[in-house]
Subunit: 286 residues, 2 copies
Amino acid sequence: MPPGLTIGDFSRITHLSVKMLRRYHESGLLEPAEVDPHTGYRYYTVAQVPTAQVIRRFRDLDMPVREVKEVLAAEPDARGVLIAEHLARLEKQLDATRAAVRSLRGMLEPDRAPITVEHRAVPALPTAAVTATVALGEVLAWYDGAMAEIGTILGTHRRAPGGPPGGLYGNELFTAERGSATVYVPVPDAPTGGRVRPYVVPAAELAVTVHHGPHDDIDVTYGALGSYVTDYALGVAGPVREIYLVGPRETADPAAWRTEIAWPIFRTATATATASAPASAAGLDT
Amino acid sequence: MPPGLTIGDFSRITHLSVKMLRRYHESGLLEPAEVDPHTGYRYYTVAQVPTAQVIRRFRDLDMPVREVKEVLAAEPDARGVLIAEHLARLEKQLDATRAAVRSLRGMLEPDRAPITVEHRAVPALPTAAVTATVALGEVLAWYDGAMAEIGTILGTHRRAPGGPPGGLYGNELFTAERGSATVYVPVPDAPTGGRVRPYVVPAAELAVTVHHGPHDDIDVTYGALGSYVTDYALGVAGPVREIYLVGPRETADPAAWRTEIAWPIFRTATATATASAPASAAGLDT
DNA sequence: CGTCAGGGCTCCCTCGGGGGGAGAGTCAAA
DNA sequence: TTTGACTCTCCCCCCGAGGGAGCCCTGACG
């Protein structure tokens, strides 16, 4: 048989660049039908054209090369599942984009209400908690799983929550994109089971503010609270706390959510002397 | 004055990682309010928090860092324009994604109609044309501009098109992602003006097929035609041609578009001997 | 006032998905 | 057989982000 299509011919037919065809060969995504062992020349066949086109489509959809390979290797029915999963990811990403646009519009409006910050001393709180080291991008998924598990354990042990659930997020989580995170449900005499452990949230003095609405904007509230804490020259003592006063388990409408953000503080030597104007969360100041 | 917030403090407040803050400093996107010349320590102020949050939002929208810098530097009204442009790009990208999904669904259906290929010898054709070296990704935008310019020039010189417009696309455009492209409108005695030059599309023997619908799928038709040409052991002689029988200027409905794809061919020595089954554009064959 | 941990600094490597180009080897048409 | 077009590998670049080593600086505590 003739050796088939050279890489250039195949490139012309599929509109995949020669560079990409070589990379796809390297990565095992699209093996040439034949490779001359002496010269290294790659030879393709017309039967590979449709495969190449399908690869192109998946890559157009930003499906990772690894995954495209899996899809091509999978049986047709499993294939459908993988594709559906990817499309769901695209949809989620689209939601995030929409949220970012919405939030951006809000931020560029110059009329932002100043936040109110409350100081509060809280006693130690016994809870049932799950703690782990997670990456910042995975916190949401991890949170859902952990909260569900706490709910299950409390249910089997017939304990009723003694207050709204909350979380503690280590500072490294934000400075280094991954760090320790804890989510808890207050309950006296907490049971153990699965990842759930009893944990006593330590007593602390907190600077607290309430974030209204979905968590897409929560960094703005963090910023406002952080600015306040800085303006009053307060030191940060330990992980940030969030208390989910109204969350997805209370209402399906994210706009109705209420999240307390609590920053454990201690007064530095200069704290009382340096108090000045309250923090502002205004728009750009370039 | 105190030196302000350390990079860690600022990171906690803005939820931008320390790494990213340093990169944004390097790239000039977000300069610390102060940098200690001896230690290199970066110090930020709370006034920079809103800026950081806006940067975060733009990055969430995949706006390139270069561009975010421009947006921040621009006056508020020019800012609106840049943002609108970016949102338009996102919208366009979304369309492309939808098209890819649609096309993918079609490709994974196993019942694809085989294409019909026609051989045609065409004489030399005098035209008014624009030629340039363009990147594959920019062809569409370039095409629109070039066609508009040809239309303008023909209008001022009172020449009527002598047939459907077309294009010639060098093979390098596909093998190397950039190459020479020509678009033309047939007209005897073509005028000169702007980028428009008279150009005679050379006579050739062509293998021609018609692509129906929007150009998102056009690579499939290219693949089918390429497979046909290969199956009949024909050589490729010169740039591929497209003839826009029904295009955006005839109808707003992309599904009604008709594009001829014409591959200049020559018969190789083995051509008549090797003729075999017609090309198929069927689904995956993994 | 000295110690020392925590946090800051720079520099380099990695990843993913691409591009450009050099230098050498190969194929096939004239 | 020549020669130009094609292909090979290898290395560098881009973007935007992360990991980690090794060293220096700051500040709270004793």
